[in-house]
């Protein structure tokens, strides 16, 4: 087996690999990577270097973990999971990412492919008109600074109270769409100015809005799928991938800078400047936590306003209220976040960066409707392949701090992807395969070609076999909107 590292990597099982704590000076715990042998050999050297750097951070518990969609990131690898003692451990913006609460939302419908296919072009045009995407796009919800402070304090709840959602929507969002420990006084004016006009916008890069089909033969667990509102029979669903936009990006930048100075005060040294951190209990740590929660709430609000616009678009195209089209949220998950969660060793600050919470049955954090099944986990693939709905398990609670994969993971640089295909060419190829793509930037579209990503099915199989989530359904794209 040829790996992109000289480190010792021991096989624990067919899906779990461990780098012992003796491998690098300063490692406090071993690092564990979830991967098949095929995925492990394709992982870039950054994964091994970065996950062992994470294992050196003060207060880390059990393992530094990396999921099978892992690849190089800033500080933490993408796919990284690490839990720190609340009293003696740290919090790190590098363990959350620049796009705080980047996440996935899935909306179901009662429509089928037969209903939508004749009007798909019209539907995608309407969605593209209503959901702004691309560089510097502005949303239709106009708020002043005072109102924006309420948005970032109350998240999706603010939206629902103003008519951008249904009363029961927050029940179907992680943290019910509003993280309580959010303090707007801890965010800079610079951050507010970057984000206050972007409510309800997708952004660009790998963010998207996708219309998908749930076919009978791609539902792997009919009972759980039904509990999630996924009924098959070529049912139409809508997936949204976006985050906290310029506001969250600036919160991360502001606190990375602050933490560089704070580390000197607290005598903390890290292997990589992007791992800058502060004790969770310190003033700086608490300030970042409060600011990061504001950014997380802004992302919940962003996806809520987009949901409102999706419902309006469907209502316009199909001439019926969204309620009668059954357009309920299945769930909304964060995959870039740090949260305080309870485990057998006590309260831990769990960082997930490009990793999704995957709580199993019985956890009190889950809404009543999912407490028996475990939570829905929404994983986006590339725009040319499928996406998946998984379900959290008890094994995840035991082995991975209730965490699993988030997507497929990139394997090719943006420049190389652009050299391999032109945006217009890709758009035509996808149209021939029955996928309508609307994009603001054709070069941005080329960068997101399917061949630039790992095969998501391989990644999903790994977490399914490892037992940290189970497959519920695969969703096939028929329409995509990109920035």
């Amino acid at each position: 087996m040829h790996l992109q590292t000289q480190m010792t990597v021991n096989k624990i099982s067919d899906q779990i690999w461990e780098i012992p704590a003796s491998e690098k000076p300063g490692m406090l715990v071993p690092a564990r990577i979830y991967a098949t042998e095929k995925i492990l050999t394709s992982m870039d050297s950054g994964v091994f270097e970065q996950i062992t750097n994470v294992a050196c951070l003060p207060g880390i518990r059990r393992y530094a973990l990396c999921m099978p969609d892992g690849h190089w990131g800033y500080g933490f690898p993408i796919g990284g999971v690490a839990a720190f003692d609340r009293d003696t451990g740290v919090i790190s913006p590098g363990g959350v990412g620049y796009d705080v609460n980047c996440g996935m939302r899935l909306i179901r419908t009662d429509l089928t492919l037969a209903d939508v296919a004749p009007r798909l072009e019209l539907l995608m045009t309407e969605l593209f008109r209503r959901v702004p995407a691309g560089v510097g796009s502005k949303g239709f919800v106009r708020v002043n600074r005072k109102e924006f402070a309420e948005v970032i304090r109350h998240g999706a709840r603010w939206c629902v109270e103003r008519g951008y959602g249904w009363r029961h929507d927050p029940e179907r969002i992680e943290e019910r769409g509003c993280i309580p420990d959010a303090d707007p006084s801890k965010v800079s004016d610079y951050a507010v100015e970057r984000g206050m006009h972007q409510l309800g916008t997708l952004g660009s890069g790998n963010h998207y809005l996708e219309v998908q089909v749930a076919a009978d033969d791609r539902i792997f667990d009919k009972r759980t799928a039904a509990a999630f509102g996924i009924t098959g029979h070529n049912q139409i669903v809508v997936m949204v991938h976006c985050g906290s936009r310029g506001f969250g990006h600036q919160v991360a930048s502001d606190y990375l800078k602050l933490f560089e100075q704070a580390m000197r005060r607290y005598g903390i040294s890290v292997k990589d400047q992007q791992l800058a951190c502060a004790p969770f209990r310190s003033q700086e740590g608490q300030d970042y936590f409060a600011a990061m929660n504001c950014a997380a709430n802004s992302a919940f609000a962003n996806r809520q306003v987009i949901t409102h616009q999706i419902r309006e678009a469907f209502s316009t195209v199909f001439g019926q209220p969204a309620e009668s089209l059954g357009m309920d949220i299945v769930y909304d998950v964060a995959h870039n976040i740090a949260k305080v969660e309870r485990y057998p060793e006590g309260e831990l600050v769990v960082h997930r960066k490009g990793s999704t919470r995957a709580f199993g049955p019985g956890r009190p954090e889950l809404p009543e409707m999912y407490r028996e099944t475990g939570q829905p986990v929404i994983c986006g693939g590339s725009m040319e392949t499928g996406s998946y709905v998984l379900v959290g398990t008890e094994l995840a609670m035991r082995d991975t701090f209730g965490s699993t994969m988030h997507g497929s993971g990139r394997t090719m640089s943006r420049a190389q992807a652009k050299r391999s295909v032109r945006g217009e060419q890709l758009q035509q190829q996808m149209a021939r395969r029955g996928i309508i793509v609307k994009a603001v930037s054709m070069s941005g579209l080329a960068e997101e070609a399917g061949f630039a990503y790992k095969n998501i099915s391989d990644v999903v199989e790994t977490v399914d076999l490892a037992g940290i989530t189970r497959k519920v359904a695969e969703l096939r794209p028929i329409g995509n909107i990109k920035g």
Partner: protein
């Protein structure tokens, strides 16, 4: 030498990186700004409709460049602007004194119908971030989160 930049492919798989060069700090700052500008939009499609001025000072030249590039990202989000050109004067820095930047950005409000918009930069990062002098030239390596 005059200012120049080139994009680097091997540094950030999912993102974008560049190396900028200049014979003086002013040239380096101008070249770096042009690389950020070109990442956001094709500058040939952006009209010279307005000018934004930026004044900053810092004891660290590296921090000054970092903040200057951050200003372009800020203006993209806060004022919905993209640019076609940049010019700056960097002075001071002698005997440990402060460096001073006077920068000008020439561009226009974002208009997808008229401009070839590219990638929405989330942040200028500190990953492998470096400003150095080599044989009389100023060189910066910058990675941008996309």
């Amino acid at each position: 030498m005059t200012s120049s930049f080139r994009f680097l492919e091997d540094i950030a798989l999912a993102d974008s990186a560049f190396e900028a060069r200049g014979g003086t700090p002013s040239e380096l700052f101008t070249a770096s700004a042009l690389a950020v500008i070109e990442t956001l939009a094709d500058p040939r499609t952006v009209d010279p409709a307005l000018t934004k001025t930026v004044s900053r000072h810092d004891h660290s030249l590296a921090n000054l460049l970092f903040d200057w590039l951050g200003d372009i990202v800020y203006l993209k989000d806060a004022e919905a602007l993209v640019f076609r050109d940049a010019a700056c004067t960097v002075s001071g820095g002698r005997a440990g004194g402060e460096w001073r930047l006077e920068g000008r950005l020439i561009g226009a409000p974002i208009d997808p119908a008229r401009q070839d918009l590219r990638a929405d930069i989330k942040a200028i990062t500190k990953h492998r971030y470096e400003v150095r002098q080599d044989k009389g030239n100023w060189i910066a390596t910058v990675v941008m989160d996309i």
